[in-house]
């Protein structure tokens, strides 16, 4: 077991001046977003106030897809360069992406009840997003297994290969509403003439920016946690080697006396 370093100077965790600033900005943005999403933006003509769920559902979906893209790029870079930073980034983005995908699925399900009359349907968009969630769980599980296997398996190889599949799956999720018949609406804001406007469009854009800040804050902290995990593992190994050598030295000295 590694002896803890007593009273270490420097940061006491994963925060820094930049992340503290980002955190304050995120909280202020969330307060403003809640005002727009729940009070100042008008209800929809057809969906009435259920449309207010769009301001959390759509941003979390976009950021879940962003996280998957980051994991795929990090997996590809890790396979190419085998650098620790890409390995840690892939895991951090996948874990944050799992949280955002989960929130996207839950808020979508809740939104579906008043608008479609059901919490769940075997709809292409919902089903492919659920598969994305399962793929993220599988990716993180494989990384964990590879970590525990140590030298028995090429570290992270299987996880990285699954990581490569995330972005293609995101493309399937995105285009599923165009390729197959779906309950889910087609693209709303990615087209050149968005089908919403005014305060509703502004609130949606604000939601994407604010949840983007939260996502960045979480990703930075989770990356640093991953980095510390790697360093703690290396420090623990070094410490065990020192202790083992000391024990061997004592045994040899005892044998000579």
């Amino acid at each position: 077991m590694t002896a803890p370093h007593t009273a270490p100077p420097g940061p006491a965790g994963t925060s820094s001046r930049a992340t503290r600033g980002l955190g304050v900005l995120s909280l202020a943005g969330l307060a403003l977003l809640l005002g727009y999403a729940l009070v100042w933006s008008p209800p929809d003509v057809a969906q009435k106030d259920a449309v207010r769920l769009m301001y959390v559902h759509v941003p979390t979906a976009i950021l879940a897809f962003t996280a998957c893209a980051i994991t795929t790029v990090a997996s590809a870079m890790w396979l190419r360069r085998r650098s620790e930073g890409w390995w840690v980034l892939g895991g951090a983005a996948a874990e944050v992406g799992l949280v955002f995908t989960g929130i996207c699925l839950i808020t979508g399900s809740i939104w579906g009840r008043p608008t479609w009359g059901t919490y769940w349907d075997w709809d292409p968009r919902i089903t492919s997003t659920t598969l994305l969630f399962i793929l993220l769980v599988g990716y993180l599980a494989l990384r964990s297994i590879d970590n525990e296997a140590g030298g028995a398996a090429p570290r992270g190889m299987r996880g990285a290969i699954v990581g490569l599949l995330l972005l293609p799956n995101v493309m399937i999720v995105h285009f599923s509403v165009d390729w197959w018949r779906s309950l889910h609406q087609t693209a709303t804001i990615t087209r050149l003439d968005p089908t919403i406007e005014g305060t509703m469009l502004f609130t949606l854009m604000l939601g994407i920016v604010v949840f983007g800040l939260v996502f960045a804050w979480l990703l930075i902290h989770r990356f640093r946690v991953g980095w510390l995990e790697e360093r703690a593992g290396a420090t623990g190994l070094d410490q065990a080697l020192v202790e083992r050598r000391a024990e061997a030295g004592l045994a040899a000295a005892g044998g000579r006396s």
Binding site: P4, T14, V56, T60, V99, I106, L228, E229
Partner: protein
Amino acid sequence: MVAMTYAGYVGAGWGIALVSLAIYALRTVRRGRALASQVPPEERRWS
């Protein structure tokens, strides 16, 4: 003030999202603090 329609759904959706993010953020910060005590300060490059 006009009552919000579907207030339960809207409240549940936003509540679950914000509480989930808060719990995950707290858990991540705590993990970082616990690990930081096992790692020499020079390894924490973000200081």
